[in-house]
């Protein structure tokens, strides 16, 4: 329980640093941080699944569901409040994850990965074909309000960023608590030996289902804040399989050693992508691929293992 307190302190300090960064950094950097944190939310969910031995190649299903839940509620229900919409998006994605998870949790390894991808491509197919949802063009998402507060001009970007930072750190704490719980600790046990887990009296299916739901809800929240931050949603940016692939990419890049690793990895990913795109617009994917290759070669346990290694060495 010492650990919990320490993590809470670290997360609190990180949140303060993020808030300060929001006021000190230039606009583009704040935007980049917002996207990184939102992506980090999705990767946080993948981290839970990863620890239980599952890799979802379809997390864009829930990311897209979150984004489109926001879009639809803004367009058709007139909702504008970012707090309510983030929660609703997470709930919608969590609900979908529950339904899909009932089937998914019967599979492992590559079958789990491929089936999750198949589900996400169904959503993509539906979105692309539906005129009402803007088809391949998607649609614009208007600015949100914050519990009645409607920031004007430049304050909007920072406000969305601050909300994203708050949600991210709260989610990180929640996931930390879950991973420290009996069920969270069962993840590694399930990865090792499902038979023993059942013979201890725990349901492997139920643990995995709950973790799929948590991961789905986190991805939904990530999709919701991304929709507001970008101000636009479309199937290719929200639900295509390459989006899922990027999430897995960042999970590997980050490593699963710490609850903050997903956010750090996402930040590095966004930085590499932005700068690669700026300086070599035609080969930026190659730069991205090379960096992943180097990380896998030299830090097989992800970015976070660098920190662990340094601390051990020091």
């Amino acid at each position: 329980m010492m650990g919990t307190d320490k993590t809470l302190t670290v997360l609190g300090a990180t949140l303060l640093a993020l808030v300060a960064a929001g006021f000190l950094l230039p606009d583009w950097a704040v935007f980049l941080l917002t996207l990184s944190l939102a992506r980090g939310l999705v990767v946080l969910g993948l981290l839970i699944l990863w620890r239980s031995g599952l890799v979802s190649f379809g997390q864009a299903l829930f990311f897209g569901t979150g984004a489109y839940t926001v879009g639809l509620l803004v367009l058709f229900a007139g909702l504008r409040d970012i707090v309510a919409l983030t929660v609703l998006a997470a709930l919608a994605a969590g609900l979908l994850a529950w339904l899909v998870g009932l089937l998914l949790t019967g599979y492992r390894d590559i079958f789990f990965a491929m089936l999750s991808m198949a589900f996400s491509m169904i959503l993509y197919g539906i979105l692309v074909k539906t005129e009402l949802l803007g088809s391949t063009d998607g649609f614009n998402v208007p600015h949100p309000t914050f519990l009645g507060y409607a920031p004007a001009g430049e304050k909007m970007r920072v406000s969305i960023y601050l909300w994203t930072a708050l949600v991210s750190m709260a989610a990180a704490y929640g996931v930390h608590r879950h991973l420290s719980s009996t069920m969270g600790q069962l993840g590694a046990a399930i990865r090792d030996n499902e038979i023993r887990v059942e013979y201890l009296g725990a349901s492997v299916r139920r643990v995995l289902l709950i973790q799929v739901i948590i991961a789905g809800a986190l991805a939904g929240a990530g999709g919701a804040v991304t929709a507001f931050a970008v101000g636009h949603i479309d199937p290719d940016a929200m639900a295509y399989w390459t989006v899922s692939g990027e999430f897995v990419f960042v999970t590997i890049l980050s490593g699963t050693g710490h609850i903050l690793a997903p956010f750090l990895g996402s930040l590095l990913f966004e930085l590499i992508r932005s700068f690669a795109f700026q300086y070599s617009p035609y080969t930026w994917q190659m730069v991205l691929g090379t960096s992943l290759l180097l990380i896998i070669l030299f830090l097989p346990n992800g970015l976070w293992s660098l920190y662990a290694r340094l601390r051990k060495g020091g």
Binding site: M1, G3, T4, R177, H178, S180, S181, T182, M183, G184, Q185, L186, A188, A189, R191, D192, N193, I195, R196, V197, E198, Y199, L200, G201, A202, S203, R206, V207, I210
Partner: protein
């Protein structure tokens, strides 16, 4: 009322009958040794009682309740636990964490989703088990790196985390060197005796059967050949021919020396 009762338990795999009309009644506090040659149906029997395999026909009653349709998880929750011939543990975790997780799961109806696993009273309970099963020097080590004998003990200790009424041990000393066998059995039986759990153990070593069993059930070709006090069963003509003969052969072969059963 018997603690466990099987009625006409039969299991067929295609044309092979692994268990044929097994009816046996077990009272609380008994320590029952199950003997039989390979393929006699011992493990099939344990698998059926613990819900791993469904019987083709017959039924299993635990404290007057029909548990035949239940799976391993429900049966564990009801108070029947087991260990395995090949230890079923969590190799990528430390021995201590293996125990903590077992205790954490046993603690509630369902594993806690939010409450931390590492709480003082669970730590204390795990420490106690470590001491009880003579595992103190291995606590922090990864299970993947531990010797087989230690893993066997851990497997049993994990099964006991639920404080079962009945524990089934599938060859607790197999894969362990001859020198270690009695040491392990002393630790296990000592720990089990203190809890008052009823024990059913499969064993090939007749010396161990004689020393620790209060009753012996001999299996041969899916049926019960003999059932009674160790001295009587082990002296039984048929048991000597079909079961112990095999065992003598096996043990002398394995030890490369004179049989001593």
């Amino acid at each position: 009322m018997a603690l466990l009762e099987t009625r006409g338990l039969t299991k067929t795999f295609g044309s092979v009958t692994a268990a044929d009309n097994i009816s046996v009644s077990i009272e609380a506090q008994e320590v029952i040794g199950i003997i039989g040659a390979n393929g006699a149906g011992k493990t099939t029997f344990v698998n059926m009682v613990t819900g791993y395999q469904k019987p083709s026909s017959g039924s299993i009653w635990y404290r007057g309740q029909d548990i035949t349709p239940h799976g391993p998880r429900q049966i564990t929750r009801l108070g029947i636990c087991r260990s395995f011939q090949v230890p079923q543990v969590f190799p990528s975790l430390s021995l201590f964490d293996n125990l903590l997780i077992s205790l954490g799961v046993a603690e509630g109806e369902r594993p806690a989703i939010w409450r931390p696993l590492r709480r003082p009273h669970l730590h204390a309970a795990a420490e106690e088990i470590v001491a009880r099963y003579d595992l103190a020097s291995y606590g922090g080590q990864l299970v993947a790196l531990l010797p087989q004998g230690v893993r066997k003990l851990l497997d049993i200790a994990m099964a006991m985390a639920h404080r079962p009424q009945l524990i089934l041990l599938d060859e607790p000393t197999s894969g362990v060197s001859v020198g270690e066998k009695f040491g392990i059995m002393d630790v296990v039986m000592g720990a089990l005796r203190d809890t008052g759990v009823t024990v059913l153990f499969i064993e090939h070593d007749m010396e161990i059967i004689e020393r620790y069993g209060s009753r012996v059930v001999a299996f041969a070709e899916g049926t019960i050949l003999a059932d009674g006090a160790p001295r009587d069963v082990l002296a039984d003509e048929q048991v000597r021919r079909y079961v112990i003969g095999e065992a003598l052969h096996r043990s002398s072969h394995a030890r490369g020396g004179a049989p001593h059963a």
